[in-house]
Amino acid sequence: MKKFHQYNIPWFELIFTALGSSVILFVIAPLISMVFATSFTDLTKTAADLQVIQSIKLTLMTAFFATAVSTLVGIPLAYLLARKKFFGRSILLAIIDLPIIIPHSAAGIALLTVIGRQSFLGRILGTGLTGTVAGISVAMAFVSLPFLVNAARQAFVAVPVRMENIARTLGASPSHTFFTISLPLAWRGIISGMILMWARGISEFGAVIIIAYHPMTTPVMVFQRFNDFGLSYARSVAVLLILICVSLFIILRFVSKPKDGKSINA
């Protein structure tokens, strides 16, 4: 009969697989348990609730608006950070990551001092952006912008500088090179960043509730229903929101998958 040590058990793989599985379980267990705890009737009732539909529409729209505007200003920044070496670059990189580090409720308070009624901007305009759709978008953009800028920066870094150099020596201006070489080669990474930012904007609660309790985004509605009516009322809205976020992540994985022959490193 074989002794125990003669079985040649792959301990390394076994231990790492066990540890890795616990992480996956930790992420999906609460989500699956919540979905199964919600009855289909509750879910359809919630999906037909006008307030919920309006709230989901508002959330998707404000997150989209935040992403669209951030993309316009974030891509040039990401490109500069990917290509140029300049004094203070590492400080700029740290500043971009700040919204990830600071508590989002604190981010909301910070934003109030810039776009609230009592802020400099609020006094000039006669009203602030608190309680407005624009205010919600600003809050979403503030906390989710790092995801877009970092993804776009990494995508530009992955484009070999030599490709741009060749384009320039063939007679292309810097802007022509950017739009015909750099951007098309980085677009997959940029789209991933945009979807990540959009999804992160949708799920934002801390900063948004400080800027606008009304109009009510879906994460705020989950909180409000939990407070006012209890777990079962909040849960069905939460499940709907999670289904939307998961769908977005599936799209993200799909579009960011490189096709053969078109990858930069091919």
Partner: protein, 345 residues
């Protein structure tokens, strides 16, 4: 004509200092040097992709040091070809003409001419990732040539190819240079490639130009021992003492034609050393009894490493001579060479 005047560039620990040279119109100029010597940096400086710290670049007498790369009309082909992976071969080749806003008729005509010349008509609809190394190189060349560049800059462009493709493309490059009358600056670390292609070779070592001359005179008269060593030249020996007509090296006296007090090294040309089984009378003044210590088989010749006391020599002989002399390791042979076979540095 391209003129470089005192070009200097420092990048981290790398220093290129006071580099000056000229490339004539329609000349095939090869910049030869080992890796990391700054050849690629120089290519990028000439192309306008990197600014020099000091110095001036002139094209036909006009200062272009600060001119943008897209206005210079110098096309670059890199070692890894850098084809645009998201574009087809056709789109890659026509990129420059489209960037210049040329009409579709001109683009079509130029594409047809270039594709026929480079024999890549069948590749036009393919994606770059599906091409072989040689095909990618041809596409990269066609993409560079379609804009009718004033100067073609080739950065180790043949290095990644297998030997047969490399030999074929060497011929094509030389043909392009002659037929299109285009100036070429070709950067390489391969002395043989430089020898085959160049009208003139510029040897660059440690960020400095050490010698510019025709291939024949470079290999016949390298300017110093470091250049000779880089060129793979054998039998370069340090001189302990030199006087007129005589050098003392490796504890032997060697008769030379042109030594003086400043001679620090000599080069005994291997192909001019005569090998024999016994001593013989001749006008050659240098004759040494040697022992064979190593035999290297080359393509068509053999390199025999022999020693006479502390004097090491390498001799190139044919397979016929090798068999005739019945050479084997440890065998005693006589090496004879004229004083004119010794080059003094």
């Amino acid at each position: 004509m391209l003129e470089l005047h005192s070009i200097s560039k420092t990048l981290g620990s790398f220093v290129m200092s006071n580099l000056s040279t000229k490339i004539d119109n329609a000349e095939y100029f090869v910049l030869l040097g080992p890796s990391g010597v700054g050849k690629s940096v120089l290519i990028e400086i000439i192309a306008g992709l990197t600014k020099p710290d000091k110095g001036r670049i002139l094209w036909d007498g006009r200062d272009i040091t600060l001119e943008k790369p897209e206005l210079r009309g110098f096309a670059v082909v890199y070692q890894d070809y850098a084809l645009f992976p998201h574009l087809t071969v056709r789109q890659n080749i026509t990129y420059g003409l489209k960037a210049a806003g040329c009409n579709s008729k001109k683009i079509k005509t130029r594409l047809k001419t270039l594709a026929e010349m480079m024999q890549i008509q069948n590749l036009l609809s393919r994606q770059p990732a599906t091409l072989s190394g040689g095909e990618q190189q041809k596409v990269a060349l066609a993409r560079a040539l379609i804009v009718e560049p004033k100067l073609l800059l080739l950065d180790e462009s043949l290095s990644a190819l297998d030997i047969n493709t490399r030999l074929k493309l060497r011929k094509e490059l030389k043909q392009i240079n002659r037929e299109l009358n285009i100036s070429v600056l070709h950067v390489t670390h391969d002395p043989e490639e430089a020898m085959v292609l160049a009208d003139r070779i510029c040897v660059m070592l440690d960020g400095k130009i050490r010698q510019v001359s025709s291939p024949v005179s470079l290999f016949r008269k390298p300017s110093d021992p470091q250049v000779a060593s880089f060129l793979g030249i054998r039998n370069v020996l340090p001189v302990a003492k030199a006087q007129k007509g005589l050098c003392h090296t490796c504890e032997k006296n060697i008769y030379v034609n042109s030594a003086d007090n400043s001679t620090s090294h000599i080069w005994i040309k291997p192909e001019e050393i005569l090998l024999s089984a016994s001593p013989f009378d001749s006008s050659a003044r240098n004759q040494f009894k040697c022992q064979v210590v190593e035999i290297d088989r080359l393509n068509s010749l053999l390199a025999l490493h022999i020693v006479s006391g502390k004097l090491p020599l390498t001799v190139l002989i044919t397979y016929t001579s090798f068999n005739k002399l019945k050479v084997e390791i440890g065998k005693e042979v006589y090496a004879t060479f004229k004083s004119s076979a010794v080059h003094c540095f």
